[in-house]
Amino acid sequence: MPTSILPGTLDLLILKAVSLGPQHGYGILLRIEQTSSGNLLIEQGALYPALYRLETQGSLGSEWGISENNRRAKFYTLTPAGRKRLKEELSHWKQLTKGMALALGAEA
């Protein structure tokens, strides 16, 4: 059963997905589902406010292009600022999970 993502982690997931190459919104969604092997459940519509937020903050760039099935779609790319942010948040996340795992593991 897929589980809902933790609040605040959607941005990180999006950045990671886009870092693999330019993609449109639906593609990003699929990518996250694939890479998480279907373990994460994302509210599909909620993706877009997050995308707009990241774009406004300068982490993502975007341009209109043609999708694989020949429709106009907006493709997102990672900006240098976004790449830097992804790196920071990744290390932050790793530290957090490591700490969490240790702390929770010790309890068990």
């Binding site: 969604l29 877009y48 406010p49 707009y52």
Partner: protein
Amino acid sequence: MREEMEFHRAARTSDLVDRGMDPEEAARTARLEFGNAEAYREECRKELGYRPWDDLYADLRYAVRILIRNRAFTIVAALSIGLGIGANVTIFRFANALLFRPLPVADPARVVDIFPGSETVSYVDYKRYRDENTVLSGLAAHHMLALNLLTDRRPERISGQIVTGNYFEVLGLEPAAGRFFVPEEDSVPLAHPVVVLHYGFWQRRYNRDPAMIGQTITLNRREFTVIGVAPRGFDSTYLGMVSDVWVPMMMQQVVWPGQERLTSPQWNGLYLTGRLKDEVSQQTAQSVLETVNRRIEQDAGTPQRGWGFVAVETAGGLHREIRNIVYATFALLVVIVELVLLLACSNVAGLLLAQAAARRKEIALRFALGASRKRLLAQMLTENIGLWMIGGLVGLALSGALTAMLMQYTSALPFELELGVGIDIRVLAFTLPLAFVTGLAFGLGPALQATKPKVVEGLKNEIVRVGGMVRLRHALVVGQVALSAILLIGAGLLVKSLRNAYFIDPGFDLEHGIVVPLELSASGYSESARRLFYDDAIARVSQQPGVASVAVAVNVPLTMNRDEMRVTVDSESEPRELTLYNVVGAGYFETMKMPIIRGRPLTDEDHGGAPGVVVINEAMARAYWPGGDPIGRRITHGGPRELSVIGIVADSKFGSLGERNVPMFFLSALQYPSTDMKLHVRTVGDPAPVLPMVRRAIESMDESLAVDASLLRDEIGIVFVMPRAGATLLSLFGVLGVLLACIGLFGVITQYVNQRAQEIGVRMALGARRREVMALIVRRGVGLTAVGVLIGLPLATLLWRLLSSRLYGVSTHDAVTLASVGVLLMIIGAVASLLPALKASRVDPVTVLRAQ
């Protein structure tokens, strides 16, 4: 955004179909999976920072709906604000026309007006300023005067400027037709009677006929050859003043008669305008010109205190003679229009407060639906500012009517006044922010009040009648009355002050005067012939019915013609500063109704063979012989005569109505024969019907004379234009203020009484009689008004005392104003409570109770 999400859904659908789902089912699932697209879109817009704009758009739409729904309220409020803003815009339009206009000449920033300490200079001194400075590429002198244009024996007054030959060259102007003056035309007195026409004058009168160049026109009974036309749009170097013609300085004896001004350093009156050389600042020019000025003074042997100073100003401003009065009028107008605006806005704010009470259900509902206070506040504020913006547009329209009305006053001027008072970008840039800011300032209070959560909370329960609410309403009524009292008293005092200042007694009889310039020297009369002519003219005119008194004098007061000279008092070693004087004949003081305070007036006995005499005014007595008795004292002026003071005449205005009384003296026409004098006539009653008889009497003496007689009050019209327009405007705004205060007060009291309708119903249901109920309400309304008046009057006295230095001849304890404002407010209070009380007492008590 929509397209992007649409793509998402389509892609999802096709994926689901690929996985073997029924297409319809797939579309539904895709939609479900996506969630609430509308909400997400809104969130996206928020992320993009669009949210405030979206809110504003919604607020604006809502505001428009509300304002349209409350049509009557909107119209009343917008009109009220419109009046306030319209008054401000009108004043601004005049200020805009008067303050922000460069001269239509080449490089106007380098053209400067130059005022030596004496303000005007003689032609002799002009030449020295021109030749001895190193900072100007050119210096011209000029003087504005009224001329007599004769067309087919029909005389007509036009305005003109006598200018030095280099005038147009200094200004860097190119003629629209013909040419400007050449140096020869301004080198020998009376040799070249030539004239340059104003473009508008050429167009109006001669239909822009190019053949006019080379033709002659008759000015002051002398033929002048038209040599050119000034460029379109150039009126003169004075703001708003139009010169119809320009005549070279050498024609002075014809166009500016009375004195030989070209050779004598005594006769001042020329204004200087020059062009700064490149790279020369006004400061540098000033110090260089001051050096020249000191040299001139030293050579004249009459160094004067404070005389080294030379003012250098960018040209194109108001003429100095009227500048001060214009500025003073403007200052007072600004004060009063701000008062009107304040009153209008506070009225509307009061109405909004009352309206907020009426809208409490709506607001409570919106709170209940989860609107935040911030959002509600923003929405109310949008509504209020919208209201003010409508008011601003109304004001813009109203100012058009006001401006047109005021411009009519300028038709009384001897000079044509051309002001650009239209609506331009600056007027808009003034009006719209004014509306916005006042809307914000006065709309915020009511909006805050309306959205107070506590109030709304309390109001959900309709039956609350807490003591606090009643007290608040009472306070509102009392406050409005007090504020109205302050503003009304202020407006009253200001209007009264202006009336005092402007309908000020000029010190001579203005209403019964006729002036007839007798241009005898141009007709070849010798000095002795002129003297006989004057005597004969006085005798003949005196016999006309309706004539009370006749005399001759050189200068007419308040006409911008003035003569000044330096005089030495008693045996002092140095002369005093320039002192104003006039040369007058016997009976002058009697004719002008200027009372002799001490001593005796000038008479026919004070002729050339008699001892030199002078009559001085009170201001001169005070200034030159402080504490002493001037009668019998002596003054000299460098001439052969020593003059002894024989009389003191009461002060009168000479330069401008607004001036402080300045020292002035009067010489005997028999001892100081001047080229041309003017006949002054005082009539018993209205001078207008006497005027043609006076003209005919003079014409019968010499058929060849074109006699241009005019009423004294027309002659000096220019001095009255600004003040009269200003006083009219002020009275108008004062009335407007009273009206606004009444409406506001009426509204607040009516509102108060209406809100007590329930109580009335209850009382009547309990058996109270109509009369008792009405008496109760009226008593309460009047009582509250009285409290407001009692608070307002002392407060007003206190506040306006701060302004008292700006008030002319009005005490802030002016009992009449105070009392009338108090009475007026009490009457309004009574009427305002009586009408709704009447209405309320007719209400069927059952209906009211049922409404509960």
